[in-house]
């Protein structure tokens, strides 16, 4: 029996990056119609949880173990939203020796510190908090609990 396409392809176009599901309801002739057809909505997609500003959103992958103190483990994917201004306790991405690193921003009184929670990297006091140079603010951390997956460059890609 032929089915009806209830949601047009066009109206789903904005969900292009996520799961595209067609809402197929059984044809009328072959029995009782589903009582849910009037209430169908677009299925949640993973992108609904991640970004509000795709224009300013970039992604990065954590390597090494130096960020574990601030909750970031090797192979975690960081969602970085450059439209956000850092506030207390944010994790920020900044450039460091030609590459990138992440730090936690902590405000104590009028002073701002960059914290790694790592004995090898003591907290750094920010000299001029109004002009702290930030590459972006980490808005989400994607963890894969099964992650031993290697990317195409192997476990640790050479830092350019």
């Amino acid at each position: 029996m032929e089915s009806h396409l209830l949601v047009s392809k066009e109206s789903l176009a904005e969900y292009k990056d996520s799961e595209i599901s067609y809402f197929i309801a059984p044809g009328i002739a072959c029995g009782f119609p589903s009582p849910a057809t009037d209430s169908l909505e677009v299925r949640l997609s993973i992108t609904d949880f991640f970004t509000s500003n795709p224009t300013a959103t970039f992604f990065g992958r954590a390597i090494g173990s130096s960020l574990e103190g601030i909750g970031i483990f090797e192979n975690d994917v960081l969602v970085i939203d450059r439209s956000l201004r850092p506030v207390n306790n944010d994790i920020i991405v900044m450039t460091y020796e030609g590459g990138f690193t992440a730090k936690k921003v902590v405000k104590e009184g009028n002073e701002v510190f960059l914290i790694s929670e790592n004995p090898e990297y003591p907290p750094v006091k920010v000299a001029d908090p109004d002009n702290l140079i930030v590459w972006g603010v980490v808005s989400k951390i994607i963890k894969d609990p099964r992650s031993v997956v290697k990317n195409r460059y192997g476990h640790i890609r050479k830092v350019i």
Binding site: I20, F58, F59, R61, A62, S66, L67, V93, G98, F100
Partner: protein
Amino acid sequence: MIVHADCDAFYVSSERVFNPSLIGKPVVILSNGDHTVVALSKEAKALGIKRGDNIKRIMALYGHHGLQALSSNYTLYGDMSSRVMEVFGQYTPDMEFYSIDEAFANLYRHKYIDLDSYVMDAKNKILQYTGIPVSVGIGQTKALAKTATKYAKKETANGFYRIKNNEDRIRLLKWLPVGDVWGIGSKYEEKLLAMGIKTAYDFSIMPGEKVNELMTIVGYRLWCELNGQQRINFEYEVPNKKGIGSAKGFGTKVTELSQLQEALEVYLSRCCDKLRAQNLACKHLSVFIHTNPFATEEPQYYKSIEVELPVATYHTHLLKEEANKLLKGIYRIGFDYKRVGVFLSRLVPIGAIQSNLFDNPNTERNAKLTAVLDAMNGRYGRDKLRFASMGYKHDWKARADKLSLHFTTDKDDIILIQ
């Protein structure tokens, strides 16, 4: 008021966002095949490097200055460009995307705002959101706004200049050498210099009829614009192209038909993607091949061939059959080929395809096949589903040894954070 925004050293700036080690160093971006310089940072300019310079020569001369050379990464630049334009577009709907790194905006709707702070806000937001620095100029006309941007880039600390009154306009035009005026090429520059016209100001006070006589209506429009009268229209919509083509030089010597065929199909597939992205079909197809015209001691061959299709089409698999037939027809054994190219023309909107009596009986099946192809590749990445004849090895491809990664479009290429 017209606003003109121009990204500063756009290709280099895009690379620097994702590779901070390039910041402050002289950087050049290379042409397809890594032969010559197509873009450069201001540090590289300061060394005396120019667009078009040969990479081997400048590396020998300036390598010890820490000169960094990168292959052009148009995937990255394209994405960064649309990010910049998206942010700019939040400020006004009346925009013209002039090129990958330049845009005009017409702020006639914004009569009651503080223009300077509005535009500075846009400029700062573009830098914050995308990491790309932009220079901005404001003037009465497009040509004046572009002049203001040039001035802002070279002479101001904050990369912003607004032509506020006639004195400003005259001062800027006196500052601008006539050869640097938008649209005045080297041919007219020579003529004008011979007449004693050295600056844009000298040009702007020439009698209009004389400009018209010397440089046709195009030059006259420019003359009007520099004098504050709008003559160059806004192109809010990108005009439909006359044709879509792709032709890239090979990185190695190519002699076999099979290699040419593989390259042709890859280029054609790209063209068909563009065609369908604009909802167009083509009725005319041409293919050409040629040897390297600079290798004068080698035997030379150039041939192009075209066909009028009975029915306009947008299907890769149908066009590829035709293109292969054409290629076979012009291929000759015994030459070192430098390039193969394909061009689709006589474009019509898909909805306006005129079918005929002898129409392909498989129209519906073709449409389904192409829809599946586009849906799969839209989701899993370009060419993930492809015709086997497009091959994988691509040993004919031009060199891009120093290509940076696709930081924003490939999940295996995202930045690393330590």
